[in-house]
């Protein structure tokens, strides 16, 4: 079969590859060992290495920190095809992202869709330049799966809102400069209709955070408390009491990320690890027959799941798409990741159980295993995804 590639795209790929090879420092092409080794930007931005600084500044100058946003917002203005090529080439070379930011992946899309032009021009370029470290304030202790029952309240005080309540699962809240938040602005409306989306400076008086420790050890998650925090009214994004629309839009985004869509990591195949670690029988097969079958079944699903991402992405290009499919990807992708870690533990046997006393250095496998258990909970539990698919795709009735 022939594939037609436009000449200009082909040129773009050649140029991109050459530029990346020339400009991406060798150390920025290595897999990330420690999440704290990433560059997150922010008011107190600190580069962990000279290479990291160089890479960020070069990409910023090239306008490739967020290559697909419009130029007026600080983006590179690339077309979707060009952006795909850039992503492919970065993946091929193993280039890290120059900036890790919930501003790019979550707040940005919300602003682009729901903010006023003034707000976009104000916030988006700051995101691109890495000036603000953003975190997300959605869930509350009693509003997890039932997010819309959130109780953090924003009371209208004329020129500002006064915000009181608490959020959980705010990643890096203790390091962030600003938080984008869902708050209740109307207590009389039905629960989905009284919610607004607002931006809050974390240095405001009355904001405090407390880290959450997970079963895997320390985590970037925090609880965040608001005790009568004053927030200017212009920080409201979109219409008052219509924040749920923005939330739904962002949750779909988040599900796709957690489900593995757009992930660029190349995962090591499980059977490769198995071949390194396990004994083989005389015909070269893994001696543990049960494990061999489990691995084979897992890799079957993993490979086909990746093909499914491809198929649905291709279908979306022709206009056939259902937003609820993101729930399917989130559900299935996280189940696969959990299964992967179970297998790695099985393969590793007693060795994989090592935990150690130094959280930063020891027990990588066991801690990642524990961490994976959260995948089917964060970003909407698997059960919530199943409910969504049942209703929106299968059209099964609710009582």
């Amino acid at each position: 079969m022939e594939t037609k590639i436009s000449v200009s795209l082909s040129d773009f790929r050649t140029e991109t590859r050459a530029w990346l090879e020339a400009n991406c420092p060798e150390s920025m092409r290595q897999p990330v060992k420690d999440p704290f080794d990433l560059f997150w930007g922010g008011r107190n931005a600190k580069f962990n290495s000279e290479d990291q600084r160089l890479w960020f500044e070069r990409m910023l100058e090239k306008k490739w920190v967020v290559p697909y946003w419009e130029a007026k917002y600080g983006g590179g203005g690339l077309t979707s095809d060009e952006n795909n090529i850039l992503t492919q080439e970065m993946t091929r070379l193993g280039c890290r992202k120059p900036l890790y930011s919930f501003g790019i992946s979550m707040l940005g899309p919300a602003l682009l869709n729901f903010a006023s032009e003034d707000q976009k021009l104000h916030y988006l370029p700051q995101i691109v330049e890495g000036k603000i470290w953003w975190c997300q304030g959605y869930s509350e202790p009693n509003a997890g799966s039932d997010l819309a029952s959130l109780q953090t309240k924003a009371i209208d005080k004329g020129d500002h809102y006064e915000i009181t309540g608490s959020k959980v699962w705010t990643s890096y809240a203790d390091k962030s400069d600003w938080i984008f938040c869902l708050v209740r602005t109307d207590f009389n409306a039905t629960k989905h209709n009284g919610i607004s989306f607002i931006l809050i400076d974390m240095t405001s008086k009355g904001v405090s955070t407390r880290p959450i420790k997970l079963i895997s050890g320390k985590s970037p998650f925090c609880e965040t408390f608001f005790d009568g925090v004053k927030v200017p009214k212009e920080n409201l994004i979109g219409n008052l009491n219509e924040g749920w629309t923005i939330a739904k839009y962002l949750l779909t985004h988040e599900r796709q990320m957690i489900g593995g869509i757009g992930e660029t990591d190349v995962k090591k195949e499980v059977h490769t690890t198995a071949l390194e670690k396990l004994s083989l029988n005389s015909s070269g097969a893994i001696s543990d027959g049960v494990l061999r079958n489990q691995i084979s079944d897992f890799e079957m699903d993993e490979e086909i799941f990746d093909l499914t991402i491809q198929r649905v992405t291709d279908e979306a290009k022709t206009g056939n798409n259902s937003g609820a499919l993101s729930s399917f990807f989130k559900f299935y992708g996280t189940e696969l990741n959990i299964a992967r870690h179970e297998l790695l533990m099985s393969i590793g046997g007693s060795e994989a159980l090592f935990w150690g006393e130094n959280e930063k250095k020891d027990g990588d496998l066991a801690r990642k295993f524990c961490r994976s258990k959260g995948n089917s909970i964060e970003g909407g539990t698997s059960e919530i995804q199943l409910n969504i698919i049942s209703k929106l795709i299968l059209g099964l009735p609710t009582k």
Binding site: D297, I304, F305, K399
Partner: protein, 372 residues
Amino acid sequence: MALIITEEQKMLKDSATELLSAKAPISQMRELRDSKYTPFDKELWEEMVAMGWTALTVPERYNGLDFGFVGLGQILEETGRNLSKSPLISSILLGASALRLSDNEALKVKLFPGIMEGTSQLTLAIQEGKHHQTSIFNTQAILKGDKYVINGSKTMVIDGTTANLFIVACLVDENYSLFIVDAKSSGITVSKKILMDSGSYADIIFKNVEVSAENQLNIKFDGRLFLDQLMTISYSGISAELLGICKQAFDITIQYLKERQQFGVIIGTYQALQHRAVILFSEIELCKSIVLKALQAIDENDTSALKYAHLAKAKLCKTAKLVTNEAIQLHGGIGVTDDADIGFYLKRARVAQQLFGDYNYHLDQLAKIKGY
């Protein structure tokens, strides 16, 4: 290339949906069964020929349409949906493909016309034991003068009672080889076997069956490679049919969940059933992807085509088992009555699962391919 079907392939699929729902709905299959297990409806077969389905994968130089296996897969998916009975699998998926792969030019020129016209019906005789495998055959062909003499026995030969030509997988010395054998040759005994899907299969014994050396399908083409390529097509094609079975059994079941009432409510409102339905939906989503990929891989001569074919058959066997079992269970009592159609999906699925290797077989092959 994009993992979607083209406009042309979509049109072909739509025409298949139209023909089969009009001329070969599941009620036809029921009638055939109740008419002493008649193998298929001849009129339907003529319609299929008229639609060009028998010429779909035949190269243009033999006056075929050369439309590709993605196209044939779309039709097989629809026959799976309708459980339509015809010699499409035996004569086209298997027969025409074997001929297409053959390097025996004379045989191709001679046989393609009859296959396309539907007047000649081929089938493949390969399986010998209870389970499909392609590594050991006991059927031997020995060269004597200008003829081969075949001895051995084959089982699970699809439409073996109606085909006029058998493609027989044999050992010639240490090598694999495939021969076209006339069903009427002396020394052949055909025993009809009706299987669970109400389909007609045959056990065939070959006793000193003489076949001209001109009937050897692979002349210079290595028999092992030939078989691998033929099996790649077979696995993928049967997987396409299984996909149709899964989709339709699922659709029927979802419809039932939306209609059936117990305890004063529609049973589709029960969350436990909803979640199980979504699991089925999810697995079928994966099935769609791998079946299309496996079919595309054949058309593109992808070097990983065999791997994708194994993946397709493994995944579809596993999913078909799950979906048909759940479909029956979610139907409750009505699901186990012969009056309901859903049971036919279970029965056809189990046969299609065994055809050319079950989940276990393909999972094992996948591990072997990856070297563990």
